[in-house]
Symmetry: C2
């Protein structure tokens, strides 16, 4: 009885078709252009059809949100090869920023936009394991900081406090840029500014910790 399986496969194909189209519209024309009617038009089905594959619009957005975390986790693998924990942590921050600035729509969905959160709250009630994907990334940061502590930096600092602080710093940088709050800095200097800000962190936090150690 291979029919059930074929049907299941077709259902899955339709789901990814919808998701890919949604993401394409999202990347092309921004968040407000993910409308069910636009998606339906692009895939040449009626709007109602989408409801056979997703419960509602929020479920589509939530799924894209998850995809973003998968993608970020992929990027983060790059830094694992670095041996020196301090260098790794600095590279970690750099990687985070470049992920955000090269995939601003994904980043927005993952860390700024309110929309996916109705769904997340629903999910967390019946399935606590669903936030796990986002958690993996946080755990990686936490582990990196732990390694730095072992190497003598941040010795008087709680790991979560350090993690939250560093995360806040990089998130602040990219979200001010993505949400266009940096008009006082000329556009063409912005890339340098980000680089300088990361160096500022490197010098004042990471290297300071190093000096304290020696």
């Amino acid at each position: 009885m291979g029919i059930k399986e074929r049907k299941e496969l077709e259902k899955q194909e339709m789901r990814t078709l919808i998701l890919d189209t949604a993401m394409k519209l999202f990347l092309e024309k921004g968040f407000e252009n993910i409308t069910l009617r636009h998606i339906a038009e692009k895939i040449e089905y009626s709007p109602a059809t989408i409801y056979l594959y997703f419960k509602d619009k929020d479920e589509i957005i939530y799924t894209l949100h998850r995809e973003g975390f998968e993608k970020l986790y992929g990027w983060q693998q790059k830094i694992l090869t670095i041996k020196d924990p301090l260098k790794r942590l600095h590279k970690h921050a750099e990687m985070y920023v470049s992920f955000a600035l090269e995939n601003p729509e994904y980043y927005d969905l993952m860390f700024i936009e309110r929309a996916p959160f109705k769904k997340i709250k629903e999910m967390k009630c019946k399935d606590g394991m669903n936030w796990e994907i986002g958690m993996r990334s946080y755990d990686l940061l936490r582990k990196n900081i732990e390694d730095c502590k072992k190497a003598g930096v941040f010795q008087n600092t709680n790991i979560d406090v350090a993690a939250f602080s560093l995360w806040s710093f990089v998130h602040g940088i990219v979200s001010l840029i993505i949400r266009e709050r940096c008009s006082m800095f000329p556009e063409e200097q912005r890339h340098d500014l980000v680089k300088c800000a990361l160096d500022f962190m490197q010098e004042n936090i990471l290297l300071t910790g190093l000096k304290k150690r020696s």
Copy 2:
């Protein structure tokens, strides 16, 4: 001919009635509840009437956005009395964070939400002086850092880099909280976490600068 003036006054009163109602709905039920129809219902006028006092919905949102900056600027006056530039800078950060967390809807409108920006771009074309209100707050930060430099801290750091870095840090903290990305930290510990993060900055950046000086 006092009629013209009375009419002008009544027009102004209606505008503030609309704005106050919009803000009330906003505070009560979140951003998505600022709908012209809700506002109209609350003030017991027809939706069309609002268009006699505001060009469109964006103009209402933009005006609330400006009000937010006025309010922030008011809060910022509190720190001007502090003589020691380092203490003042630390207090500045503390004030910024508590403004944001005590007025999350205003903060969201001012530094996170995309909505007000169609209008801002329009304004900037014909009237460059309109971003001035937001700029005042940034200039205050810049000036504080300049004073710190005079006191010997941040001597090798560009002022704008330091300003952007510190701003990013505090913005990161509050925007992660406001947009609910901190579910890995228990709600009841969040207040402490913010305090610790600010101390983290104080110790690693400000006090480090101080040690370099001596």
